[in-house]
Symmetry: C2
Subunit: 490 residues, 2 copies
């Protein structure tokens, strides 16, 4: 990245005197493998034909629009009109924009004091947009939602950081996290100086989870003197792609209640469910269905505009719904939100649209549904094709992608390959992924970046390449894999 | 805010077991006085005539568009077109948008891989936009700028947090900050567990600063066992409104170089200079003019789209230019940026526009200049009118607002008022500001929120109410002030 030389000893800041929590933190989905991919891409641009592939296929990150997914037209119409309200009452605008997008833009502007989309909002976000989001949550769950519980954020990541910052006092505070996990959690816990307490998802049971495993890990953490403060659950799963069963969800709620843990529910893939026998249920709905209210469980649900069928990663919109905390704790959360003033208003507007898309009878309703269903059904087909392809590879097994945007296949490598990785001072799964990248331009993330049962090897692959590219991914991957095994066969 | 009761002792999270750094942190510009103002506003809406004023005038925060300032048309045109590129080649679009905004939108889209404004970008921001920003910095300073030194962020605040997170290891690490200061700094240092080392600006010298004061405070901090890592300077000043002299700036650079301190330069008000005898010079320009290059001084400059003549606070755009760090440290900064993926793309685009506005010959050039100059000249008039009004008040003295968006008058209160404040368990300046708010609807922030020489009292007032409202602000303030003094005269 930088062309500068490393720090010399007289520089005021060196890696040795940086905050060690920063140095310790790791973030695999933008780690070394991506740096290599960016270099290869530059080489291809500078000298076409310099590698045995003509483009880099970024399957490392859930970034749908970077791979050609188109945004939902209605959402972008509303955003453009809110950015430049001066055109709202011009006659040409009616020729360019749908009638309901114009109407929605007016509604949104009327909810913003002075119609000022360029002003800082309330620290939690514009009240009228929070009203809309709360209404969307109620419609989804069938239980009440309070706009005062909504904190709009620049994507889900800052919301996760905010909760970690609130909960973690020292390395003696532990946070229960699934393994494999999305490395935002390990990174955020490291940055805030806490301790990640792992609980393992059961690969043989479709990445389900057992309460016995939660209890075992909690007891183990307590015996080491840790105070465990919260449990993270990602549903649908990242990187594992499972959709938790109702029983699993109820077990988790019960466990958090019994053990007085905050339940941090990453629900950003709530729209991404691809199998008919599974359905997304929010943890709040599950808890309320069990009869647990505000006083019974502290629960934070994270949502993002980056995922779903819309995939608006670049807009950095999202929210957390914060329930079951006392007013005094809520004031502290509000204060931390205030220090950053507010999240970006376009992201706020988009979050309200995602939770309140066009309805039957609206001019855009049919085209909106066609765009949404086209994307989701294509994602389901891509997930199935890739899953089948992985399962056909020698020494690879892959669970079903029931939801989210990822597959997390397990790979069994020959001893000779593992030794070659050791010789190259690289984890075996990273060794495989680097070789794959250099041979095919396909970017996977090694399982070691997410955590895995010791001794097992995996990689994460997104299901996001456009459908017409999937056959090439499969054939390039298959050809590489066979060659790799031939090279290292014991 | 919340309707929930305070935490009970069985709740997993209480204020007593939260991260104490969070509890300690304060942020006055959205503190108690704003909460009161929001309540009054709700009461006025519910029951017009219930207070002796008909609107709340928020002079607490630099949020121009919330008080009626209009956005720059060209900037909003480009943003709308980038949000909804599908209309770019429609014939109606030419009737609605300026030709150069259409051209600029095409240019920007061509710099984004796949023209995907909905994709996560490079962790530092879109390369083409960083190129444009670097070119803008070069044109401003007359010294080279490297796009790889630019980190685009969701406003300046997250950039400041990022640097504090990197530098602060424990409470033994100190950060030199001006007093009075913008409370983002005290809040961020508290959240990251460091120690604020104050240096006092000299009110009698127009809020200038003396190297002797810097040396004295540095020595004092060292004698307490602190390692001082960085010096924060805000130029033009917030809340103090001064523009530093060239000599002051050179002294600061020399001091940081001699003492091996990172210079953190808050330059977000660089466009807000209102007096003909002062001009903004970036600290990078000053350092380079002194012959100091990459190897001589570690310097971070913060810029934002929220301030200037554009005042696009809600867009959350900004950047930091990071120079004079080794490649290994830069990798760590990159990693922390990566954990949050990227800043919002609209904010990134806006930051590139702010640093590269329309040029002579562009269709929008004249209207752009008229909008910009209209806002800046009006701000200069408002600053002067308010300054004069403050200086006419009995027991109030006010330095000139040479720049930024604030005045920070000093107020001498009678002993009887100070005793009444004590009786109400309130700081005397907060007591005055609360009384002012309840009587007039005007929101000032007490000086105690920014820090001040012990025994002195101040408040911060923005110069942002629209020009036609300034006479009412002055008359309401004057009337209140006279009544207040009459009530408490010794």
């Amino acid at each position: 990245m930088a062309s500068a030389p490393p720090s010399n000893s007289s520089a005021p800041v060196t890696v040795q005197n940086l905050n060690p929590k920063v140095v310790k933190c790791e973030y695999a989905v933008r780690g070394e493998i991506v740096t290599i991919a960016q270099r290869l891409q530059q080489e291809l641009q500078a000298k076409p034909g310099s590698h045995p592939f003509d483009e880099i296929l970024y399957c490392n990150i859930g970034n749908p629009q970077s791979l050609g997914q188109q945004p939902i037209t209605y959402f972008r119409e509303v955003l453009a009109l809110c950015d430049h309200p001066a055109i709202l009452d011009k006659s040409e605008t009616q020729g360019l924009f749908s009638a309901d997008s114009i109407e929605r833009a007016w509604q949104i502007l009327d909810q913003i004091p002075g119609r000022a989309t360029g002003a800082y909002s309330h620290s939690q976000g514009i009240k009228g947009l929070r009203d809309a989001i709360a209404a969307g949550i109620e419609a989804r769950d069938g239980f009440p939602a309070d706009p005062n519980d909504i904190f709009l954020t620049d994507g889900a990541s800052p919301a996760v950081h905010m909760m970690m910052q609130l909960l973690i006092r020292s390395e003696n505070d532990g946070i229960l996290c699934p393994i494999p996990q999305y490395p935002l959690y390990s990174a955020s816990i490291a940055l805030h100086g806490g301790t990640l307490v792992p609980y393992y998802l059961d690969e043989a049971a479709g990445w389900g989870l057992e309460t016995s495993e939660l209890k075992k890990q909690l007891e183990s953490a307590k015996s080491k003197g840790l105070t465990v403060r919260a449990l993270v659950v990602i549903n649908p799963g990242n990187p594992t792609g499972q959709v938790l069963s109702g029983k699993n969800q109820r077990d988790i709620v019960e466990f958090c209640k019994q053990e007085s843990l905050v339940l941090l529910a990453d629900e950003v893939y709530q729209e991404n469910v691809y199998v008919p026998d599974k359905k997304f249920h929010s943890f709040k709905k599950v808890a309320r269905s069990m009869g647990y209210g505000e006083d019974d469980i502290s629960l934070v649900s994270f949502q993002s505009v980056s995922k779903g069928y819309h995939g608006e990663c670049g807009k950095r919109g999202g929210y957390m719904e914060v329930t079951g905390f006392g007013a005094d704790v809520r004031e502290q959360i509000y204060k931390v939100a205030s220090v950053n003033l507010c999240s970006n208003i376009s992201g706020q507007i988009l979050a309200s649209l995602v939770m309140n898309p066009p309805k039957v009878g609206d001019e855009s309703y049919e085209s909106y549904c066609a765009e949404r269903d086209g994307i989701l059904s294509s994602l389901a087909r891509r997930a199935k094709t890739l899953e089948d392809a992985f399962n056909k590879l020698e020494g690879v097994t892959c669970n079903k992608a029931e939801g989210a945007m990822y597959l997390f296949p397990r790979i069994f490598l020959p001893q000779k390959a593992i030794k070659a990785a050791e010789a190259a001072n690289t984890a075996p799964d990273a060794f495989y992924c680097k070789r794959l990248l250099n041979a095919t331009g396909i970017v996977f993330v090694p399982g070691s970046g997410f955590g895995q049962v010791p001794g097992t090897l995996h990689f994460r692959c997104t299901i996001l390449p456009q459908e017409d590219k999937i056959p090439a991914v499969v054939s390039r991957l298959t050809e590489f894999h066979e060659g790799f095994l031939d090279e290292f066969r014991d």
